[in-house]
Amino acid sequence: MPSEIGYLHNLQFAYLYDNQLSGSIPTEIGGFGANTVSLHFYNNRFNGMLPSELGLVTGMTELQLANNTFEGRVPSEFGLLTNAYILYLSHNRDLNGTLPTELEQLTNIAGFDISDTSITGDVPSLLQDVQSSLSFERYYFNCSKHYPCPEDKPNPGTNAQYAKVPDEGDNGF
């Protein structure tokens, strides 16, 4: 567990989705601190283990890591993300093991997706009924009459691929 808290403690969000980024998430990410609200790293080529340091980003409200090639277990430290209401881990076929029971602490969770992964075992009851109907574009850009939402952009909030609640078929339950 790193001792330092990063200078990027003012970071509110880092949206790197829909690129071709690779490599693992550096452990220094734990230095992003309490003000960080969301990390959107989905639709890239990230790999390696999910760093347990992500659990240090206690201000995290959204963690979207779908559609990469992460591997290994979901760290129990994710249970520290008590402010999180979005946790999307789907489409990482090499994520495996069972979900840590600590995820029961994510009392604010509104969207949870582990479809198309190799995660097995019981899904904490808190996460089982989660449905997400958040519209990404409308949520972040507050589309208005002056700023119509582009229609041809992927909308992770409503797209079933990302908002899907895991079912038994997908996870081998």
């Binding site: 330092e4 990027l8 403690h9 550096p26 220094e28 601190g33 850009f141 208005s144 952009k153």
Partner: protein, 492 residues
């Protein structure tokens, strides 16, 4: 006695003509005693002569030599032309004089009638008259050449000069007449040649004129610009008025810019500013840079271009910002300048239908703290290394625009940068590629970054988020941030 200065040896077409004539006439060889006599025609003068074959062969040998023999060279050639050289030799003429031309040619019989028959070539049979005829007709003989020691190079081609065979007045007069006749003939040919040259030149001029006309009427803009890339006196004078106002880096491109370029239009616009004399360098730079942006992105078609390019308005009163909401926050019309200094600090043109390529001149707005171009789906361009000039920049937003190229490492020099949006407008737009520069880790004040919908590859720079001032274990260095003042924008 005149010295023959003619030398045909290097006159290849003529040489070929002689050869051809010889071949043609050889069929009409006549037996005259022991000698075989050939009826020769000098292609230059069309004078004919009967020449003993033996002597003709000697002449031919001379003609075939690359260089005429001089007194100190051997008679026989020591080198022969290569196949390549031969292939480059001109071909014999394929055309022959027309009947009209022939009718104008001097008749050999015309001269003897006036003289003592010295040039009665048709009847020349003895050695003396053969020599005479050869000299008169401009043909060559070894002994003639041997006397031409001053002419080592056969290229010196002059008009054949007739040589009288004796000092007698009649002979001299005859030679003189032959010369005159030849000179007239030569003059006529020159005249004819001159006419032909004149015709060729006229044709060329006509073609050139037609090409120019077509260029002007049908060429694409670039070509037209190239031909119109000239400066009127007024434009030059206008530029001179700007020379004392704009920084050198903005003046240098002037002479290279095409007339239709945004820069040239901005120069023209600014040089006509009636208040030019009152502008400081800072204000002239601001007005020039903003005018360039206006022209480069079709400012006349912006959603809102109130007062832009108006000479009657301070550039700080040109339209700026808009009421819109992005990332939870509401933004309103903002005053773009510093209230006290008038420095342009906030370049905000969100959702304003900017259409074109972002010009580098915006990086000359060195006091800029923020650039907000979000939601201009037709705004193209790249972030160039010149971005480092904006050392006060806190916000750089090309959200939902069409930027391309890479993120320059110079971005790491913008120590104040807190917000950096670089998303593309849709899947089909141009995209940013390349790596995330390691220099991003220098930006310790980053609050919001989004590079979504691009083709960025590589890894997240290690150190992004790392602390270069480690805290003691277990004591988080949280700062309770109050509202962050940012222009008229407040983060809560």
């Amino acid at each position: 006695m005149g010295v023959p200065v003619e030398d045909e040896c290097k006159d290849k077409p003529k040489r070929s003509s002689v050869k051809e004539e010889v071949e043609q006439e050889r069929e009409q060889e006549q037996e005259q005693g022991d000698e075989v006599v050939v009826n020769c025609i000098d292609p230059d003068t069309m004078l004919s002569a009967k020449i003993p074959l033996q002597e003709l062969q000697q002449v031919q040998e001379c003609l075939d030599r690359k260089k005429c023999p001089s007194e100190d060279t051997t008679w026989f050639p020591t080198t022969y032309p290569s196949m390549t050289e031969i292939s480059r030799m001109p071909l014999p003429p394929t055309t022959y004089p027309s009947m009209t031309e022939i009718s104008r040619m001097p008749l050999p019989g015309a001269f003897p009638q006036e003289g003592p028959g010295l040039l009665d070539l048709s009847s020349s049979t003895n050695a003396s008259s053969l020599q005479r005829s050869l000299i008169a007709s401009g043909a060559h003989r070894p002994d003639v050449h041997s006397r031409m020691s001053s002419m080592s190079d056969c290229n010196d081609l002059n008009l054949p000069q007739a040589v009288a065979i004796s000092e007698s007045p009649e002979d001299l007069e005859m030679a003189s007449r032959v010369d005159n006749k030849r000179h007239n003939l030569a003059a006529e040919r020159k005249k004819s040649n001159a006419s032909f040259v004149l015709f060729c030149v006229s044709t060329l001029v006509l073609v050139a004129a037609l090409t120019l006309i077509l260029t002007f009427t049908m060429a694409p803009d670039e070509m037209r610009d190239a031909t119109e890339n000239q400066f009127t006196l007024e434009q030059t004078q206008g530029f001179q008025r700007l020379e004392s106002l704009l920084p050198q880096e903005l003046l240098e491109p002037f002479w290279q810019e095409r007339p239709s370029s945004a820069q040239r239009q901005a120069y023209d616009w600014l040089s006509h500013d009636p208040h030019l004399d009152t502008l400081t360098e800072m204000r002239a730079t601001q007005r020039y840079a903003l005018a360039t942006l206006f022209f480069a992105t079709q400012g006349s078609a912006w959603n809102d271009n109130d007062h832009w390019l108006s000479y009657d308005y301070h550039e700080c009163d040109w339209h700026s910002g808009d009421e819109f909401t992005v990332f939870f926050e509401s933004h309103t019309m903002i005053y773009p300048c510093n209230n006290e200094t008038g420095a342009y600090e906030r370049l905000w043109l969100p959702n304003n239908n900017l259409n074109g390529t972002l010009p580098d001149e915006v990086y000359s707005l060195s006091h800029l703290q923020s650039m907000e171009f979000i939601w201009n789906g037709d705004l193209l361009g790249t972030i160039t290394p010149k971005i480092q000039q904006l050392t006060n920049l806190e916000m750089l937003s090309f959200g939902l625009c069409q930027m391309k190229g890479t993120i320059p490492s110079e971005i790491g020099l913008l120590a104040q940068l807190r917000i950096f949006y670089l998303t593309t407008v849709d899947a089909n737009s141009s995209k940013i590629h390349g790596n995330l520069p390691a220099e991003l880790t220098n930006l310790r004040n980053l609050e919001q970054i989004t590079f979504a919908y691009n083709d960025i590859s590589g890894t997240i720079p290690t150190g992004l988020g790392a602390d270069d001032e480690p805290q003691s274990a277990g004591i988080p260095k949280y700062e309770v941030d109050g509202p962050l003042a940012f222009g008229d924008r407040v983060f809560t």
